[in-house]
């Protein structure tokens, strides 16, 4: 049985060269489906990777209970003081999170840039923060440091340049990295200066806290919720960013799978047509093999294997194309959770490539099965006449 399958399949594969045109329809069609699917999902993956890499397991965010983002949250100074003295909290950073309209480099149209005010604790609490050019901002001065993604996406954030926000003038003194996280799409400055410039004296919108034990996050949150002086909620950064990315990822995933599904229907018909043609052009050959005593099962397998080979070729082609075109491509999108632009790189991960190949195989199975069964059911005497 296996030698039959092997020989017939080898023969079919050798024959592909003579049907290069019709065979390439399958390859290109499936490559297109895989490229679109993987390309779109690589966007969601890249976006989620940015949010995921923004979090540390022992770091949490505290906001007003009932709010779903830093922008709409605010903490009273008393609340922050109580919070920072709570058992299990090693360090707390009160921060002011505001949005500034800055033109994007590529389009020139203004987009929301996160402007975060913080004290030294804000830097200490983020060990991933690293100045890669220039220096840190100095307390009390209108200086800011820009994340590398923000500097790449927004105009006027070069070191040494000056920029106006809300009737105040700021000087960019450094660029920083934060292990590829969402912070790299923000600009940071001294809390007191930001409060003054944005006319929100004494205001903080959220607190970042360093936990002594990440496992205690839930317990600390329960204590916060139980304290009548506090109307706050604590979430680990992992929870916070997961919920931030959820909507966007769901949207991209829905769109990605939707478009890929529509294209897949087209690709299946292309594969069906090609494989039916392949079978019909080999009607006599198939009939000869069956006359000689070859069974229907090896024929079904051989046609299926040919379809799957072409499908896998298509899957690999689609994966390679999308990897070369999109992997690492930087884009930015509005994070609906924070109303700010988050820059991210498309990430064509091995998981996405495996998903693409899986889709290609499924399309190959569907496209090959019916022609394969037809090949096995051809009446020999009719097929020998080429009918």
């Amino acid at each position: 049985m296996f030698s039959q399958i092997y020989e017939i399949t080898a023969m079919n594969v050798r024959n592909i060269g003579s049907r290069i045109g019709s065979s390439s329809v399958i390859v290109v069609g499936i490559a297109g489906v895989v490229a679109v699917l993987v390309g779109l999902l690589s966007m969601a993956t890249g976006f989620n990777m940015v949010l995921e890499s923004s979090s540390l397991p022992n770091r949490a965010i505290v906001m007003r209970d009932g709010t779903n983002g830093e922008l709409s949250s605010n903490l009273g100074i008393e609340e922050f003081n109580i919070l920072s003295r709570m058992e299990g909290i090693e360090l707390a950073s009160g921060e002011l999170y505001v949005i500034a309209d800055i033109p994007k480099k590529e389009t020139g149209s203004p987009a929301n840039l996160v402007f975060r005010g913080m004290r030294q604790a804000g830097l200490d609490i983020r060990p991933e923060f690293q100045i890669v050019a220039g220096r840190r901002f100095e307390p009390g001065r209108n200086e800011l440091v820009a994340g590398v993604m923000a500097a790449a996406e927004f105009a006027g954030l070069e070191i040494g340049s000056e920029i106006d926000f809300r009737e105040s003038n700021w000087r960019i003194v450094g660029h920083f990295e934060a292990q590829g996280g969402a912070y790299e799409s923000e600009v940071w400055a001294d809390l007191a200066v930001v409060q003054s410039s944005f006319r929100r004296p004494g205001s903080i919108t959220s607190a970042r806290v360093l936990l002594e034990d990440p496992a205690q996050a839930e317990a600390i949150n329960e204590r916060i919720q139980a304290d009548p002086r506090l109307d706050l909620r604590l979430e680990t950064e992992a929870q916070f960013y997961a919920s931030q990315g959820e909507q966007r990822a769901a949207l991209i995933n829905t769109f990605g799978y939707g478009v890929a599904f529509l294209m897949a229907i087209g690709a299946v018909f292309a594969a069906l047509n090609t494989m039916y043609t392949a079978v019909s052009t080999r009607t006599v050959e198939i009939a000869i093999l069956r006359a000689l005593g070859f069974g229907g099962v090896p024929l079904v397998f051989s046609v299926m294997i040919e379809a799957l080979l072409l499908a896998v070729l298509g899957g690999i082609l689609g994966g390679v194309v999308v990897y070369l075109l999109f992997d690492g491509y930087t884009a930015s999108t509005l994070n609906s959770g924070s109303f700010s632009q988050v820059a991210f790189d498309f990430a064509v991960t091995p998981e996405l490539l495996r998903l693409g190949i899986t889709w290609a195989l499924v399309l190959g199975v569907i496209g090959g099965l019916f022609p394969a069964v037809r090949a096995a059911r051809l009446p020999i005497t009719t097929a020998l006449r080429g009918e």
Binding site: S3, Q4, E7, M11, R14, N15, S18, V284, E285, I288, L289, R290, A291, L292, G293, F294, G295, G296, P379, I380, T381, L384
Partner: protein, 227 residues
């Protein structure tokens, strides 16, 4: 001893609402070692009868026993296995697989056996030697003449050493001289290798190589002649 027995064989084809009687009341015995020519006009049922004897199709009614096996009782898979062991097919248009060379074409029926690759190659080489094509073993069908292709087809038909060779217009696509060579080869296989040969042909000269000629008309056997 009869290697082929046909008893009251009928074959009908249904085309749309119409039923066409192709074979009617065929009763026939073919002795082992015979060389039989089936002649008759187009549509007389020669090829249909040949296909039934070769196990490529089932009769609508009646009995066909070949080499002691009742073909009606064999399932599709069993019939395929039976064909691979008992029958060699030779067609008008050779029906070789164009992507395989002569050696690999001849080896094809042996893929259905348990022979090792080396033994398959050896047997195929012997079959090619019998038909005089040893030096063309590595040539693909497209690189061979019509007569050479038919020789390869004959080698393929005999490589598994079946007792019965069924030949459907084996010289129909060949010139006279080449046709005579092919028919001479079939004679050798019949005489020296004890193969029972059944040839369907329109050509009286081709039929002249047979020991016995059967004439068919309108689905019936009408005449028998001993050559």
């Amino acid at each position: 001893m009869a290697i082929v027995e046909c008893r009251d064989v009928e074959k009908q084809f249904v085309k749309g609402r119409e039923t066409v009687e192709v074979l009617t009341g065929i009763n026939l015995d073919i002795e082992e070692g015979d060389f039989l020519a089936l002649m008759g006009p187009s549509g007389s049922g020669k090829t249909t009868l040949l296909n039934l004897i070769g196990g490529l199709d089932h009769p609508t009614s009646g009995l066909i026993r070949v080499g002691g096996s009742d073909l009606n009782e064999l399932s599709g898979r069993a019939l395929a296995k039976w064909r691979s062991v008992h029958v060699g097919f030779i067609f008008q248009f050779y029906n070789l697989l164009p992507v395989l060379n002569a050696q690999r074409n001849v080896e094809l029926p042996l893929l259905l056996t348990n022979l090792s690759r080396a033994q398959r190659q050896k047997n195929a080489a012997i079959a090619l030697e019998i038909v005089g094509l040893t030096d063309r073993a590595k040539h693909k069908p497209g690189e061979l003449s019509g007569g050479q292709q038919q020789r390869v087809a004959i080698a393929r038909a005999i490589v598994a050493d079946p007792k019965l060779l069924v030949c459907d217009e084996p010289t129909g696509d060949l010139d006279r001289e080449t046709a005579d060579e092919i028919l001479g080869l079939l004679e050798i296989l019949n005489r020296d290798h004890r193969k029972t040969v059944i040839v369907v042909t329109h050509d009286p000269k081709a039929a002249g190589h047979a020991k016995k000629i059967l004439h068919m008309d309108k689905g019936k056997l009408v005449e028998e002649a001993i050559v």
